[in-house]
């Protein structure tokens, strides 16, 4: 009973102190809330990237990804990308002929010049690929013809001049289905190649996070002058339902040891590994956010103790226990932690909406920031120990205060 009475009294004094110093209290809550936000938002971005990546891979309808290494930028070359799969059509056809494979489609990325008029040019990513049921067409149709220009590697078949663009390209160029645009690896090549827009699809730009145009692989190779070695960035493989991705991947790798074959999850891991520095930076920011919150609380509480050291020493001289005075500081830290945590979590929700809107507008990715309940709970949970640990230094200072100090001023 005596302990409860003491705890209530200590709580009352702690709350009174917080109410009395409103500005300081408000600033401390904001500081802790910012630390919580760094956890929830950066954690949400990391989680969103992984989950979005997984969903995109799942939605792609592909099971395996055959590459010759990461796609490298090649400045000074037409197209700007160094694609690493050689003889892509024939390798893809060989893989496609396997009984457990439903389809193997080579795909290349190149930077291309595009223009609706031939006067002003935009550089965007050109995707050379066939399209299938996994490609979502929001307006118009799929390609009407196959990749006939390849013509068994002679590149003498007719050019279909069909192109599918993504909604952002449509907005950028102010064009739509039925319009024509110029596309080429150089401006002169582009002026010689006019394509008709047959459909609008967000599928590839969702992967790439940038405006893109999609045309048949051989036609992309033709307009970027890369037909000689039939290069592609990768070959995507769809399997029959009863096939094991791991087993087929091993078999293809044995046949083509110069290439790497990854399942969806392995491809996502490889993508994330290439972004290790970025992910580490995000993680560091979370840690720094928590440390900043901890330091802020410590600084605040130490300041309070320093400011009131004479009064606290006087109370010690009057017989107050150190534990009572430390309790007053801890109660303040606890309340600041809880309030800062609640404000941080509450602010997370509208900020997530804002960030997702910005991401969808700027790069086309939707729901990039994801904050499941456990992440919000983690943000709240981290605020309280952060605040309490930050106040330990202040508690230690109180313990060191000598009661005689009250008589020295």
């Amino acid at each position: 009973m005596r302990g409860v009475s003491r705890l209530r009294a200590v709580t009352g004094i702690g709350l009174t102190q917080l109410r009395h110093h409103r500005t300081r209290t408000l600033l401390a809550i904001i500081g802790i809330a910012l630390a919580v936000l760094s956890v929830t938002l950066l954690g949400g971005v990391g989680l969103g990237v992984v989950e979005t990546g997984q969903e995109q891979f799942d939605a792609s309808g592909r099971d395996l990804w055959v590459t010759g290494g990461p796609v490298q930028l090649a400045p000074g070359t037409v197209g700007g990308f160094e694609n690493t799969v050689v003889d892509a059509h024939s390798v893809a056809a060989s893989i496609d002929s396997r009984a457990d494979v439903r389809a193997a489609v080579p795909m290349a990325y190149q930077t291309v010049y595009v223009s609706p008029t031939g006067d002003e040019w935009e550089t965007i990513v050109g995707v050379g690929s066939g399209v299938g049921p996994a490609v979502e067409i929001t307006n118009g149709t799929q390609f009407e013809h196959g990749d006939v220009h390849y013509a068994n590697g002679t590149y003498t078949g007719p050019m279909t001049h069909e192109i599918i663009i993504d909604p952002r390209t449509a907005e950028l160029l102010d064009v739509g289905v039925g319009d024509t645009i110029y596309v080429g690896g150089t401006i002169s090549a582009a002026r010689a190649n006019q394509f008709e827009i047959v459909g609008v699809s967000p599928t590839f730009s969702r992967f790439l996070g940038t405006p893109s145009v999609t045309l048949h692989l051989s036609e992309l190779q033709e307009v970027t002058g890369t037909t000689a070695t039939d290069r592609a960035s990768l070959i995507t493989v769809s399997l029959h339902a009863d096939a094991s991705p791991e087993t087929v991947a091993s078999a293809i790798e044995a046949e083509y040891p110069e290439y790497t074959v990854r399942t969806n999850s392995e491809q996502l891991e490889a993508t994330l590994e290439r972004q290790a520095v970025l992910l580490a930076s995000g993680g560091s920011l979370v840690v720094l956010g928590v440390l900043a919150g901890l330091t802020l609380t410590a600084n605040l509480m130490v300041s309070v103790v320093y400011q009131q050291r004479q009064e606290l020493a006087a109370l010690k001289a009057l017989g107050s226990r150190t534990s009572t005075l430390v309790g007053v500081v801890l109660i303040q830290a606890l309340v600041l932690g809880v309030l800062g945590g609640i404000v941080g979590v509450a602010a997370t929700l509208p900020l997530v909406e804002l960030l997702n809107f910005a991401a969808a507008t700027l790069v086309g990715f939707e729901d990039v920031v994801r904050t499941p309940q456990w992440l919000l709970g983690a943000g709240l949970a981290i605020a309280v120990p952060m605040s309490l640990v930050g106040s330990l230094l202040a508690g230690w200072q109180i313990a060191l205060l000598s009661p005689e100090e009250g008589l020295q001023w």
Binding site: R6, V10, T16, H20, A313, P403, L407, W409
Partner: protein, 238 residues
């Protein structure tokens, strides 16, 4: 009146190191100074005793020893018959809580708390419930003439009023001994007079020791002990 002294010290000596920086690896040798040198004195309940002397004479050190804030290097200090000399910090804290009230020169009231809350604060340690603490604090503030200032914070009170709150706070634990260190040092003459009146009232049923430079305060004491260089110059009293 009970003849046994509330506080009594016998041949107490307190020496401090002076000149040493106290820092690790410091090469500066410290010298020592004897702040209190073989002082013996006693104060009975109902006495208002003054400690007078120039700065550095040992008044504050003697007050610390009497209040069990420090322990002497030699000699003994007894409060209500209990020898505090060999007690640790925890034991002396308990002695202060139960037997000693202290009034500080600069009041040292918590600025965020009202007068009532400041007076009630040290009573937390006595295990009193909230109502009991508030009732006692209200009664003490009424006794010191601040019944109409209960909900005022220190910033809204004059210096004299703050010191009266501090006196009420010192009396919260119903102590046997009240120690006041320069209680009028921050006050004008009118406020000083009021605080000295109050301490004289307190001394009717407590032992009160006041250290002061203020001649007006010294004149109000029942008995004055003068210190110079750590020694009592007007004789030791038992």
């Amino acid at each position: 009146m009970n003849d046994s002294p509330v506080v009594e010290c016998t041949d107490v000596v307190r020496t401090y190191a002076r000149g040493s920086t106290g820092r690790l690896f410091s090469r500066q040798p410290g010298t020592s100074v004897t702040a209190v040198d073989a002082v013996s004195m006693a104060v009975q309940r109902g006495e208002l005793v003054g400690l007078a002397g120039p700065s550095g004479s040992g008044k504050s050190t003697l007050l610390h020893l009497l209040a069990a804030l420090e322990t002497p290097d030699s000699g003994h200090v007894q409060i209500t018959g209990v020898d505090t000399t060999s007690m640790g910090e925890r034991g002396r804290t308990a002695i202060r809580r139960d037997h000693v009230g202290i009034v500080f020169q600069r009041f040292h009231l918590l600025p965020s708390l009202t007068a009532l809350q400041n007076v009630a604060l040290p009573m937390i340690e006595q295990g009193k419930g909230k109502r009991s603490r508030r009732r006692r604090a209200r009664s003490l503030l009424e006794d010191v003439g601040l019944g109409d200032r209960l909900s005022h914070r220190p910033a809204a009170l004059s210096g004299g009023e703050q010191q009266r709150v501090a006196v009420a706070r010192a009396l919260g634990g119903n102590p046997d001994l009240v120690i006041a260190d320069e209680p009028t040092g921050e006050l004008d003459s009118t406020a000083s007079e009021a605080v000295l009146d109050l301490l004289a009232d307190v001394a009717t049923d407590h032992a009160v020791v006041v250290a002061s430079h203020d001649p007006m305060a010294i004149d109000r004491m029942d008995r004055v002990l003068r210190l110079r260089d750590g020694k009592l110059t007007n004789g030791q009293t038992q």
